[in-house]
C-alpha cells in the first residue's frame, strides 16, 4: 500500500516536524442561526492518529464532514496534501470546483460512517471494488485480488459473496472500512464508527482500526470509545460548543486535562 506512511505508533512523539497532510484552517459552519462550527483549525501530520472526543452537539461530525466536503463550510479552508478541498488555486485566489472535479479530490480521502452506508444492492466484494474500478478506473482483475486481500485482513475473507443485509453490524462496519481502505486514501475519517453497534460487536471493529493505525494509516476518528483513544491515539482533541477546547497527548487531555470543560466531560464519561 503506497499511501500508508510508515511511522512509529504510540504516544511517545506526538508532534512531528512534518508538513501537515491535513490542514483545516478556521472552518465555520452554521445551520440557520445555530453556529455548529466556529473557526475550527486543526492540523494532522502523515501517519498520525487523532481522536476527536466531546459531548454530542459539539460539532465533531460536522467538522469531519467539512474535511471531505460532504458539508460545505461557510468559511475557512481545508487543505489536503497541498490542495484546497473544493477549490482550485489560481492567481492567489481559490476558484470553486465543479461537483465532478470535487469528486476526484474526494477519491484521495476515505470515510467510515456511523451507519456503515454499505451499498445494499452490491455484494461485499462489489462494495469494496466499486471505488477502485469505477472511480480510479483500475483493471478489475488486479482490484479483485487486492479487494480480497483487504477483506481477508478485516477478517471477512469468507463473506465476499454475501450481501450487506446478511452480515452483523460489526461485519458491515469492517466491510465499510475495507471499502475505504481499498481506495488507498491519504487518510481515513471515522465518524463514530462503533456508535451504532451492539456492545459485543464494538471490539472487532476497534481491533481492525487499531491494526490500521499500527500500519501507519493517518486517521481522524470521532469516537466515544475512550479506551480506544487511550490505546491508539497520538493526539486527542476535545471539542465542545463548535470549537476545540484543548488538544494534546493522551496524558495531557485524558489524564491531566487543563480545562474545566474537559474535566467535566471526562468525569461524566468515565464515571
Amino acid at each position: 500500500m503506497t499511501n500508508i506512511h510508515p511511522g512509529t505508533v504510540g504516544q511517545a512523539e506526538p508532534q512531528r516536524p512534518l508538513r501537515p497532510l491535513l490542514d483545516a484552517v478556521r472552518v465555520s459552519k452554521h445551520y440557520g442561526s445555530n453556529e455548529v462550527l466556529k473557526d475550527v483549525s486543526l492540523q494532522v501530520a502523515a501517519g498520525e492518529v487523532v481522536c476527536i472526543i466531546g459531548p454530542s452537539g459539539a460539532g465533531k461530525s460536522t467538522f469531519l464532514r467539512c474535511i471531505n466536503r460532504l458539508e460545505v463550510p461557510d468559511a475557512g479552508e481545508v487543505w489536503v496534501d497541498g490542495q484546497a478541498m473544493g477549490f482550485e488555486e489560481r492567481d492567489g485566489k481559490l476558484y470553486e470546483l465543479t461537483e465532478r472535479k470535487l469528486s476526484k479530490q474526494r477519491a484521495s480521502t476515505g470515510m467510515v460512517f456511523q451507519h456503515f452506508n454499505l451499498f445494499p444492492h452490491l455484494t461485499v466484494l462489489g462494495n469494496v471494488m466499486e471505488g477502485p474500478v469505477r472511480v480510479q478506473k483500475r483493471a478489475s482483475r488486479t482490484v479483485d485480488a487486492e479487494a480480497r486481500a483487504v477483506l481477508e485482513r478485516v477478517g471477512l475473507g469468507d463473506k465476499i459473496d454475501s450481501y450487506p443485509s446478511q452480515l452483523s453490524g460489526g461485519q458491515r462496519q469492517r466491510v465499510a472500512i475495507a471499502r475505504a481502505v481499498a481506495m488507498k486514501p491519504l487518510f481515513l475519517l471515522f465518524d463514530e464508527p462503533t456508535s451504532a453497534l451492539d456492545p459485543e460487536l464494538v471490539g472487532e471493529v476497534l481491533t481492525v482500526m487499531a491494526g490500521l493505525a499500527a500500519d501507519g494509516m493517518t486517521m481522524l476518528v470521532v469516537t466515544h470509545e475512550m479506551g480506544f483513544a487511550r490505546e491508539v491515539a497520538d493526539r486527542v482533541v476535545f471539542m465542545a460548543d463548535g470549537g476545540i477546547v484543548e488538544q494534546g497527548t493522551v496524558d495531557e487531555v485524558l489524564v491531566n486535562p487543563r480545562e474545566a470543560r474537559t474535566k467535566r466531560f471526562l468525569e461524566r464519561v468515565l464515571a
Binding site: A107, T123, R134, R179
Partner: protein
C-alpha cells in the same frame, strides 16, 4: 428431547372432530348458482359465439392489436424518459427547473387524457402551420402543415405520453427519495461523480420502488389506448367497430377485442413480476436457497412434531 419423562402425561389421546365450516359451503354454493345462472343467461343471448374465434384471428383485429401495442409501448417508453427528466428537475437545486417541473406535473396530470388527445388532434384549428425558425425574422428552418404532422397516431401518442410522463415523474421522484441519503454520501466518500452516484448507486436501489407502479401504469396504458379510437386511430376497439360497421356483429367483435386485451395485460403482468424479482436481489445471496425452498424450510420449522402416544 430433554423433557424429563416424569412430566409426560399418561392420558390416552382421544379422537378429535374438526370444526365443519358450514358457512363456507353455503357461500360457495351461492356463488356457483349465480355463475350458472349467468352462464345460462349468456347462452340465451342473441350472440353467435362460434364467430368470435374467427374475429380473434381476423387480419383487421390483429392489425388493431399491433397498433394498440405500438401506441402503448411508444407512449410508455417516452413517458418514462420524460418522467425521469422531469423528476430530476423537480429534485434539482435550480428553482426555475423545480417550479417548471411542478407546473408540468400539475397541468398534464390534471387534464383528462381524452381531452388532451382531442386538443392535440384539433391543433390545426388554431395553428394551421407548424414552423420552426427565429422569431421576428424571416428565418424558417421547418414549415409543415399541422394536419400532416398531427396524424391520429401522433395526437394519441402525445395525449397519452404527456399525461403518463407526469405520473412517471412522481413515481421516479418517490423512487429517488426512497434511497437513503447515506447511500449518496458513501458514494461521494469514495469519489463517485454525480452521474456515477445516480447510475451506479441511486437508480438501482430506486428501481425497487419505481418498477411496481410503472408496471401498473403500463397495464393502464395498454387499456388507455382505447381512447385513441375516438379520433379514429385503428387500435383494437376501432378495428372491432370497423368490422361491426359492415356486419353489425358489434358484441362478437368487441368480445374478440376483449380477448386480446386480457392476453396482453396478462403478459405485461408476468413481465412486471419478472422485472421486480430481478431488481430485488439485495437480500438474497447468489446460489442461496430459492424462494420456494425457503418457504418449505420455514414451514418445516414451524410444523410441530407429530404427537405420539406412548402405549
Amino acid at each position: 428431547m430433554s423433557t424429563p419423562s416424569a412430566r409426560e402425561s399418561v392420558r390416552e389421546l382421544l379422537p378429535q372432530v374438526r370444526l365443519r365450516h358450514w358457512g363456507r359451503w353455503v357461500i360457495a354454493a351461492v356463488i356457483l348458482v349465480i355463475l350458472g345462472a349467468l352462464a345460462y343467461g349468456a347462452s340465451q343471448g342473441d350472440i353467435s359465439w362460434r364467430d368470435i374465434p374467427y374475429y380473434v384471428i381476423s387480419p383487421i383485429i390483429l392489425q388493431g392489436l399491433v397498433n394498440t401495442i405500438i401506441l402503448a409501448v411508444a407512449a410508455q417508453v417516452s413517458a418514462v424518459i420524460l418522467g425521469v427528466i422531469i423528476a430530476l428537475m423537480r429534485i434539482s437545486e435550480n428553482p426555475v427547473a423545480k417550479w417548471f417541473a411542478a407546473a408540468y406535473t400539475w397541468l398534464f396530470r390534471g387534464l383528462p387524457v381524452l381531452l388532451q388527445i382531442l386538443l392535440w388532434y384539433n391543433l390545426a384549428l388554431i395553428f394551421p402551420r407548424l414552423q420552426l425558425g427565429i422569431p421576428f425574422t424571416d428565418v424558417v428552418f421547418v414549415d409543415l402543415s399541422t394536419n400532416a404532422v398531427m396524424t391520429t397516431f401522433v395526437a394519441a401518442f402525445l395525449g397519452l405520453m404527456l399525461n403518463e410522463s407526469a405520473y412517471m415523474a412522481e413515481i421516479v421522484r418517490a423512487g429517488l427519495n426512497s434511497v437513503d441519503r447515506g447511500q449518496i454520501e458513501a458514494a461521494q466518500s469514495i469519489g463517485e461523480t454525480p452521474l456515477q452516484r445516480m447510475w451506479r448507486i441511486v437508480l438501482p436501489q430506486a428501481m425497487r420502488v419505481i418498477i411496481p407502479p410503472t408496471g401498473n401504469d403500463f397495464i393502464n396504458m395498454l387499456k388507455g389506448t382505447a381512447m385513441a379510437s375516438v379520433i379514429g386511430y385503428v387500435e383494437l376497439i376501432r378495428a372491432a367497430n370497423n368490422i361491426a360497421s359492415f356486419n353489425l356483429q358489434v358484441m362478437e367483435t368487441l368480445i374478440a377485442a376483449a380477448f386480446w386485451y386480457m392476453v396482453i395485460v396478462s403478459v405485461a403482468s408476468v413481465g412486471q413480476s419478472y422485472l421486480e424479482r430481478s431488481f430485488d436481489r439485495s437480500d438474497r445471496a447468489r446460489g442461496g436457497p430459492t424462494r420456494r425452498a425457503r418457504r418449505r424450510l420455514a414451514r418445516d420449522l414451524v410444523t410441530p412434531p407429530l404427537v405420539r402416544s406412548h402405549p
